[in-house]
Amino acid sequence: MADNNSAEEKQNFDVIVIGTGVTGGWAAKELCENGLNTLVLERGRMVEHITDYPTMYDDPWDYEFKGELKREEAKNQLKQARTGYTIKEPSKHWFVDDLKHPYNETKRFDWIRGYHVGGKSLMWARMSFRWSEMDFEANLKDGHGVDWPIRYQDLVPWYEKVEKFVGISGKSEGLSQLPDSIFTPPMELNCVEKDFQDGITQNFDDRMVIHGRVANLTGDESREGRSNCQYRNRCIRGCPFGGYFSSNSSTLPAAKRTGNMTLRPNSIVHEIIYDEEQKLAIGVRVIDTITHENLEFYAKIIFCCAGTMPTTGILLKSKSKRFPNGLGNDSGELGHNIMDHHFKVGATAISENHEEDYYKGRKPTGFFVPRFRNLDNKKEMNFVRGYGMQGGASRTDWRRAVGEMSYGKELKEKLLKPGEWEIGINCFGECLPYHENKVTLNNEKLDEWGLPTLTFDVEYKENEKLMREDAEKQAVAMLEAAGFKNVKGYQEPCFPGNGIHEMGTARMGRDPKTSVLNENNQIHAVPNVYVTDGACMASSASQNPSLTYMTLTARAANHAAKQFKENKFKNI
């Protein structure tokens, strides 16, 4: 392909990082801090911390329609709106325009994403849990998927490094299935959450209610450019206080401080260039979305951190004589084994206590019930693996009266007071890796840049369905045992993608015949290409994955830096 780079633009780097979300940010930070000359490419626009958070102080009354979108405008983001919470005035600009960025669904797949510097690290739910030994052993023990080439102990020092920098609020519990992180002080449970905790402690031996573990700063330690969470619970808009971890508030500024980072937004990477002689990748092909130029950038190492599906799309499109089915796809597993967490199942109830109690501040987390099913991979249930429960309690607002026909003075005054206490549980379950759950390139339907679009063919299966049945029953049983009233179980349709934890399409493994990446996140046959976003995951566990993505990235980046310093990748 013609190289149209302008003469003055430097084209050779030590390493190229594709993407700026939680993993791209970590790769950039670690590689830059190791002294590597790093080019960071982001397909979307620049987002400067604080300066580019236009809605961070808005109240509902600042919007003509209270934050709802105009009918015509909403039509641009119908798929991004499938979560029910993403496409509102305060946050809609962080999510793609579905008309400009189409994808195809053989089966319904909710592909929720943002194209901008910071990626989903700006909008993430910030729940941060370590994985456990049980999680890394699961595939080997029950035979689903392929064995992880690493174990929990391999990640411990890297979890610690990441946690110290990120800042995770939580409380140590000493649980083997949910190892403790290095925590900043927990956000206290409110009165009703505490009742639930006590009720579960008194009535169950096998489960407990703990504080949410969340990447919002608390306590006395300071972190450069950031301050503690102010309990506004408006994280999704970007935080003017740097109260939560994002690439924009944390890793990218750290990378920038080294002087080794070149950050280039508006740069769509669509192909990794493979050199047949060196048997290594030598660079990337890029479309500049402002100038519409085709560019090439070269480096000794490539880090794929574009997000599970974009990374997979780039690898699938990177075809060569050696790799006719996509870069590193000797196994045929590239694009397969898509997993997400299924949720939208649990129970709700009300508390008749604490009528005269309330809270101050809007806590950006709640409680968590660590997994209690099939611990240590024992098969106790009619399904394998397990689920965790997330939830919280709060007093209802004026909306409690929507399903009534009351009106007049009495209603008006009643609704100025807080309503009854509600408590809700939402279960997040592990999804098994099924080969047939896949994403493929559609070369017939191209996007506005003439690039192939993605087609999803993914579904939850029997194991997930059986797990959901149990999750609902247990959520009901727990709220009842804790003495709550009006307990109602629920199980709503939940489509893959909606958890926004899509992962697994370029899995790590021990055997190049059945996996794409090795134990250091390198493509088996192309060791200077690292994949450290969700694509690398060999199983999904039931915990929110971002902390583990960041940890794997930090580990892989330091591995790459070491290889680089030892001159292992002798290209260019």
Partner: protein, 204 residues
């Protein structure tokens, strides 16, 4: 703690007779409401959230908010149902009082609204079940122009006016910042404090 006093300090400014609504014709031009609907919706919003020591829905231009929400936000199906339901409600008014809807008094609208909303809990539950369906499903089950379809449309209209009145009112700047407890940057979190330290519900 200073926030706990917020309402107490703000409240006296609200005890104002200036806000007693006497249905002065407003000057705004509807974007969505047809014919007499502006007047009807204004009457209903005023009955649902009347002015007291605290301003009422009409003082905060809630009828205009409802009009805008239908003009720009509501789905096309919802717009259609609102129009049809509004027409049927108006017809019901004319039949009951034998006069033009635009000359109806607040008392007359209140009396008519009572016939729909002051019904047994059991009847209310049946209505809420009915309104969960699409209009076409109601037609398929009960027939075109059936009593059920008519009830469905009128209730959809009335419940929407009620919902949007509450929505617009309790998320308005006036109520959100001056009447409810407003705390845009709490700074700290306390999980269990006496309600008396806060007063009214938090607005955010």
């Amino acid at each position: 703690m200073s926030l706990a006093l917020g309402y107490t300090l703000a409240a006296p400014t609200l005890f104002s007779t200036l806000y007693s609504c006497t249905s002065e014709p407003e000057t705004w031009q509807p974007l969505f409401f047809i014919k007499s609907q502006k007047y009807i919706v204004t009457q209903l919003a005023d009955i649902i959230l009347p002015p007291t020591e605290i301003v009422g829905a009409v003082d905060l231009n809630i009828p205009e908010f409802i009009d805008k929400m239908y003009a720009d936000v509501a789905s096309e199906e919802a717009m259609d149902i609102f129009k049809k339901g509004g027409d049927l409600f108006e017809k019901s008014f004319v039949e009951r009082f034998n006069k033009d809807s635009a000359s109806g008094s607040k008392e007359e609208y209140n009396e008519l609204l009572d016939t729909y909303f002051r019904i047994s809990d059991e009847s209310q539950e049946k209505i809420f079940q009915l309104t969960k369906f699409d209009e076409q499903e109601v037609i398929d089950q009960y027939g075109l122009n059936s009593k059920k379809q008519e009830a469905y449309l009128i209730y959809k209209f009335l419940l929407s006016v009620r919902y949007h009145s509450l929505y617009g009112f309790y998320t308005s700047e006036k109520i959100g910042e001056e009447v409810l407890s407003y705390d845009p940057i709490p700074g700290t979190y306390k999980g269990c404090i006496p309600l008396s330290e806060v007063g009214n519900a938090w607005s955010l």
